[in-house]
Amino acid sequence: MQKIPNWADVVLVPLISLLLAAIISAIVLLIIGQNPIEALGILISGALGTSTNLSYTLYYTTNFIFTGLAVAVAYHARLFNIGAEGQAYVGGLGAALACLYVPWPHWTIALIGAGATAAIFGAAWAAIPAYLQAKRGSHIVITTIMFNYISYPLLNYLLNGPIKAEGMEAATPSFASNTHLPNLSEVLGFFGIEFARTGPANVALIVALIACVGVWALIWRTKLGYETRAYGESEPAAKYAGINPTKIIMVAMLISGGLAGMMAINNVMGEAERLVLNAVEGAGFIGIAVALMGRNHPFGILLAALLFGALYQGGAELSAEMRIPREMVTVIQALVILFTGALDNMVRMPIEKIFLMIRNNKEAN
């Protein structure tokens, strides 16, 4: 017998976890002498107040969908990929190389070509930790963290040397105008809807939504997805059923890294239109919180990515208007990971007790 109904598991438990995270964040704000209610107001208006703000929120959302999906796909195979940050960074290198050195005739083809290159670069960066896990049993958590730390000096070298543009800044030259992705105002304008011209949200959001559907189909509608979930549930049982662990680990991590790399079409191609140092800005790590919050389901990830997108954009306004450091978002992210991921039972157990009580009462009557 199931202890709690499905809706409580999917909605109630995450909601209470979120509430706990919010309460502690409010306490942190009180301690540093800020007004949490005022902060919440600025956070919301900063994220959704104008269509430009909304565009920024959706831009961050797009990043977090990609990294959230990346973490989730690996997690279904019970692989904890902390390397989405580095994979997205190296994916950005792939997108930049494709945009700089290939004369794309039209943005649609550039999107496909550079997107594929970004995915391949991201997947390649995930492939080594995956191989080491599958073949040599190296702990994937630590190796992917190490690969994050290796990607920074690598990009630092490239952006200060071989692919650096003229000038002081560590960045590549700007991409050719043929690779310019239409932003959301152009996309929506096509349908006659007015939207902020200045915001960074772009057509990559649509690709991210397609990726959500793709990941859903992959995990719940294909043999590979079934095998991945089976392996994640129980390695010995999966092995007994003839599922090849090496294959699952490799494929799950390649898809994971590929999704993280794909993020580059949003931040590198869609927004900056060149590769700069620290282009990922922590989106890879936020993907961990997004995946946990979204229960590793693409629809949940979409909602969690929207939430974190709003938090990220609203957080920027907070630091501008109330001098609350942007690191507040990191703290909130940590609390969400803590409550939804590690302290899950602390929230779940009392709820289970309540439902059990209700059920017993009903049976008694």
Partner: protein, 328 residues
């Protein structure tokens, strides 16, 4: 080519300096993991301790009070990790990740609210820092050391002139060995990481053993963090741990969860870090210039090679990473 330059006294001195926080964090992880609790939150605990040690040292002017504050903050995060992974049987990796992010954010927020200097503490001077201990007769001026003979150099720069924490860290190694292998507590601690069921059957509380291991881990990471901000540097700056917690974990695997090996492994990583800040010495030794970014990446690349098991197989404690569920 001058391979002897690789043993330049300044690099060796830097090795000891940089190995100390790694060693303390590595031994901290050793306690936790030997008791069956994986801890990738070493990084965050070092960071929060580095901040509180520096902040309280600055406020009180007394580095010992700062050290205590740093340890206390680290132990609080340890207890949080214990709550999540021991009491509520949560995922130990996720708990560790959350702790790292929490520390990374809260230290900057607290530093900003406290001192308003962009997420750092003011520079520490005088009694707010750990002073180097100078051995009798040791030279202290760099110019004198440069001119001294080899034996004097080793005595003055390598052996003398470290802070009390550095010497204490080296003494902790045999202490940890003795505690683990020669006491009843150590036997039970190791047993709880291998076969908690058997320990439970013997009437010993698995939870209590694991909590004590996690608290010891918090104390040691606390010392490591305090050493960073009040020993090596004079104050806290954001993200000043720079991945040391993760390198300590890799060293722990390299060391096969053994105290003396941990000393060797952390000295090796300390050496690589010391070399990375002296590219001129490496250039003199191997005869060509190495990109600084290669040196930056080197400890992490080496860690991956270590993890890949190219230096012998490391078998972790068997019950590591799993919460113990008492049978009824």
């Amino acid at each position: 080519m001058d391979l002897l330059a690789l043993f330049d006294i300044a690099v060796l001195d830097g090795t000891v300096r940089l190995a100390v926080p790694l060693l303390l964090a590595c031994l901290a992880g050793l306690f936790s993991e030997r008791a069956g609790v994986f801890d990738i939150g070493l990084e965050g605990k070092m960071l929060i301790s580095a901040f509180f040690a520096a902040a309280v040292s600055f406020e009180t002017g007394n580095v010992w009070i700062g050290l205590f504050a740093g340890i206390a903050s680290s132990v609080v995060l340890s207890l949080l990790h214990g709550l999540a992974s021991i009491t509520f049987r949560g995922n130990q990796l996720i708990s560790g990740v959350a702790i790292n992010f929490f520390a990374s954010g809260i230290t900057v927020i607290a530093a900003q609210a406290w001192f308003g200097q962009g997420g750092r503490t003011p520079s520490l001077t005088g009694g707010a820092r750990f002073d180097p201990i100078v051995f009798p007769g040791a030279l202290t001026k760099i110019r004198d050391i440069m001119k001294a003979d080899w034996g004097m150099k080793v005595y003055s720069e390598l052996l003398s002139g470290h802070t009390i924490i550095a010497y204490a860290a080296l003494l902790i190694v045999p202490l940890v060995w003795w505690l683990l292998y020669r006491t009843r507590f150590g036997l039970r601690l190791r047993a709880v990481g291998e076969n908690p069921g058997a320990v439970d059957t013997a009437g010993i509380s698995v939870q209590r053993m694991r909590y004590s291991a996690v608290i010891i881990c918090g104390v040691l990471t606390g010392i490591a963090g305090a050493y960073l901000s009040t020993g090596i540097q004079a104050g806290f700056v954001r993200e000043m741990t720079a991945g040391r917690g993760y390198i300590a974990l890799a060293a722990l695997i390299f060391a096969k969860w053994r105290p003396w090996y941990a000393l060797g492994a952390t000295l090796l990583f300390g050496y690589l870090q010391a070399l990375a800040i002296r590219p001129d010495i490496l250039e003199r030794a191997i005869g060509f210039k190495v990109q600084t970014q290669v040196l930056d990446a080197l400890p992490y690349v080496l860690t991956v090679i270590v993890l890949a098991g190219f230096v012998g197989k490391a078998i972790p404690p068997r019950a590591g990473g799993e919460a113990y569920v008492k049978e009824r």
